[in-house]
C-alpha cells in the first residue's frame, strides 16, 4: 500500500513540474513587461572598447582584394632596432600583433596562390616581417635586461654554463629552475653527470684532437693549393687580395713553391 501511495506522490510531483514548465512558457510575455533586476557582472570598462577594425570574419586572414590581381605589391623595408627603441612598450605590444597578423596573412595568401596556380607576389615580404619581429623581440629583451641588471645585478635571461660532458667535450648546459635544492635532488643527480675520467676517454680525446688537427691541416693545404692554381692562372694578381682571401696560409711560402717555377710575375721582373 505504501508503495502505491509513493507512486501516486511521484506522479503528482511530475504533474507539478510539467505545470510549472507550461506556466513558464505562457508567462514569458507577461514577465518581460515587468522590471526584473538583473545582476550586472563587474567587467572592466576596457572590455566594451573595441580597438580592432570591424571585420571579424575569416577574410582578415586574406589580403585586401584589390591586391589580388597585382603582380607586385610594393612594400618598404623592415623595422630596424633603432626605430623600435624610441617606441613605448604599449606601441611595441600593438606592433607585435600587427606584424603577427601580417605574417599570418602572407602565409595564407601564399597557400591560396599555390592552390590557384598563381604566382605569389613579392615573397620577400614574409622575410621582412620576420626580421621586424626578431628586432622587436631583441628590443624588448634589452629593456628587460636593463631592468634586471639595475634591480638584481643579473640579466633576467635563463642562465647557462659550459660543462665537460662524459666524453670530455665542452657543452653548453642550460640551467633549469627547481623547487628543491641540488643536494637533495637525487633523481637529477643521477641523470646529469658532468666531468670525465678514465683511460678510454683520454684516448678518445687524443684521437678527436688529432682529427680536428687533420681537418685544419687539410683545409690549409687545400687553400694553399688553390692559391697556387690562382697564381698560375693569373700571374699578375694582387697579392694583398690573395692574402685577404686566404688568411690562414703563408703567401711567401706559396710563392717559393716548386709548382710556380716557370710562372713569371711582373713583380719578379721589376
Amino acid at each position: 500500500m505504501a508503495t502505491v501511495i509513493k507512486a501516486f506522490k511521484g506522479l503528482n510531483t511530475v504533474n507539478t513540474v510539467i505545470k510549472s514548465l507550461a506556466n513558464l512558457s505562457l508567462n514569458k510575455s507577461i514577465s518581460s513587461s515587468h522590471f526584473i533586476p538583473q545582476k550586472i557582472l563587474s567587467v572592466h570598462r576596457c572590455a566594451f572598447l573595441h580597438t580592432t577594425s570591424k571585420k571579424y570574419d575569416l577574410m582578415e586572414f586574406f589580403d585586401d582584394p584589390k591586391n589580388w590581381p597585382k603582380d607586385t605589391v610594393k612594400v618598404g623595408r623592415s623595422w630596424s632596432e633603432d626605430e623600435l627603441r624610441i617606441k613605448s612598450n604599449e606601441d611595441l605590444h600593438k606592433l607585435w600583433y600587427v606584424l603577427l597578423k601580417e605574417r599570418n596573412m602572407l602565409l595564407t595568401m601564399e597557400h591560396a596562390c599555390n592552390d590557384e596556380y598563381v604566382i605569389f607576389p613579392n615573397p620577400e615580404r614574409y622575410d621582412k616581417v620576420e626580421e621586424s619581429m626578431k628586432n622587436l623581440e631583441n628590443v624588448v629583451r634589452e629593456r628587460n635586461e636593463a631592468f634586471y641588471f639595475l634591480e638584481t645585478g643579473e640579466s633576467g635571461e635563463r642562465p647557462s654554463v659550459y660543462v665537460n660532458n662524459i666524453l670530455g667535450l665542452k657543452q653548453c648546459y642550460k640551467l633549469c629552475q627547481h623547487i628543491i635544492p641540488k643536494y637533495c635532488n637525487l633523481s637529477w643527480k643521477e641523470k646529469h653527470r658532468f666531468g670525465f675520467n678514465g683511460y678510454a676517454v683520454r684516448k678518445f680525446l687524443r684521437l678527436y684532437r688529432e682529427k680536428l688537427w687533420n681537418i685544419k691541416r687539410k683545409n690549409r693545404n687545400r687553400e694553399s693549393n688553390a692559391a697556387i692554381t690562382l697564381l698560375k692562372k693569373f700571374p699578375d694578381l694582387d697579392i694583398e687580395a690573395l692574402k685577404h682571401k686566404y688568411p690562414s696560409i703563408d703567401i711567401n711560402k706559396v710563392l717559393r713553391h716548386n709548382k710556380l717555377k716557370g710562372v713569371r710575375r711582373k713583380s719578379y721582373i721589376v
Binding site: 612598450n89 620577400e124 633576467g156
Partner: protein, 247 residues
C-alpha cells in the same frame, strides 16, 4: 664555422635588388635532407655546397635551374676592393665595341663581371619556328673587370687605371693614376629596384608613414615590458614567486 650559402653572394651584386638576406638564403639553398629537430639527432644538413654563377641572380628560378645537376668550377681572380659601380662610365677594351664608352648596368661580383648599357651585345632569335621568323632580342654580354674594361677619368673622358687612396678627411676614394683626380662614386650606386634615392621613396599603402616612425613615445620607467603592459591594462598580480634553485 657552419656552412652558409650567403657566403657566395657578394655585396655588390645583391645591392641593387634590396632583398633581405634571409630571403636570398631561402631561395638559393637546395636542401636534400635535413635531420628532424629532435634532441636524439645531430643537427646535420645534406645540401648543395658548390654553386655556378652566371647572369641569373641567385634568388631567381633560372639560377636554381642552372644549378640543378652539375656546377662547373670557375677560377675567379681575387680583388681586394671592388671598384666598378652602377652608373660608372667605362671604356671597353675588347670585342666589337672596342674603344666605346658606356654606363655600367649591372654587376656580377662573383664572376668579376659587369654589363654595360647597350654595348657588347648579342642578338638572339627567340621563338623561331618554320612559319614564324622569330623575335630578335638583344642581350648585353658580361665583361671581365680585370681585363676587358677600364674606368673613364671624368676630367678628360679617357680611360685610366685607378687606385684606392685616403683623403685628408679619412675618406676612401678612387683616384685616377694618370691625372690624380678623384673619380666620385655615382649616385645610381645607391639606387635600388625600389627607389632611385632613399629620400625619394614614395610610401605605399602597407608602409608606416615617416612621421609615425620618427615619433618618440618611449618614456623610461623602472619596469619590465610585462610589468608596463600589465599596468596599462589594469591587470593586478598579487601572487609572489617562492624561492627556486637554478642548477
Amino acid at each position: 664555422m657552419r656552412f652558409n650559402v650567403l657566403q657566395f653572394v657578394l655585396p655588390e651584386s645583391k645591392r641593387y635588388a634590396n632583398l633581405p638576406d634571409s630571403f636570398i638564403k631561402r631561395k638559393m639553398e637546395q636542401i636534400y635532407y635535413k635531420t628532424p629537430p629532435h634532441p636524439n639527432y645531430l643537427p646535420k644538413v645534406h645540401q648543395r655546397k658548390k654553386f655556378y654563377f652566371e647572369l641569373a641572380r641567385p634568388w631567381t628560378d633560372t639560377f636554381r635551374f642552372q644549378n640543378q645537376d652539375k656546377s662547373d668550377h670557375v677560377h675567379v681572380e681575387p680583388i681586394k676592393y671592388w671598384s666598378f659601380f652602377r652608373g660608372d662610365r667605362v671604356q671597353i677594351l675588347i670585342g666589337p665595341d672596342k674603344g666605346k664608352q658606356g654606363i655600367v648596368k649591372s654587376i656580377i661580383q662573383e664572376r668579376n663581371w659587369i654589363t654595360v648599357n647597350g654595348l657588347n651585345t648579342k642578338l638572339q632569335l627567340l621563338k623561331k619556328t618554320d612559319k614564324f621568323p622569330g623575335i630578335p632580342f638583344v642581350f648585353e654580354m658580361p665583361l671581365l673587370v680585370t681585363e676587358d674594361v677600364l674606368l673613364v677619368d671624368p676630367f678628360d673622358l679617357k680611360p685610366t687605371k685607378i687606385e684606392w687612396r685616403y683623403t685628408e678627411d679619412g675618406e676612401h676614394v678612387r683616384v685616377s693614376v694618370r691625372t690624380g683626380r678623384i673619380i666620385p662614386i655615382p649616385p645610381s650606386h645607391f639606387s635600388t629596384a625600389d627607389y632611385k634615392n632613399p629620400a625619394l621613396y614614395v610610401e605605399g599603402d602597407k608602409d608606416t608613414t615617416k612621421e609615425e616612425v620618427e615619433k618618440i613615445t618611449f618614456k623610461p620607467a623602472l619596469k619590465t615590458f610585462a610589468m608596463d603592459i600589465m599596468d596599462k591594462m589594469n591587470i593586478k598580480e598579487d601572487r609572489y614567486q617562492k624561492p627556486t634553485y637554478w642548477y
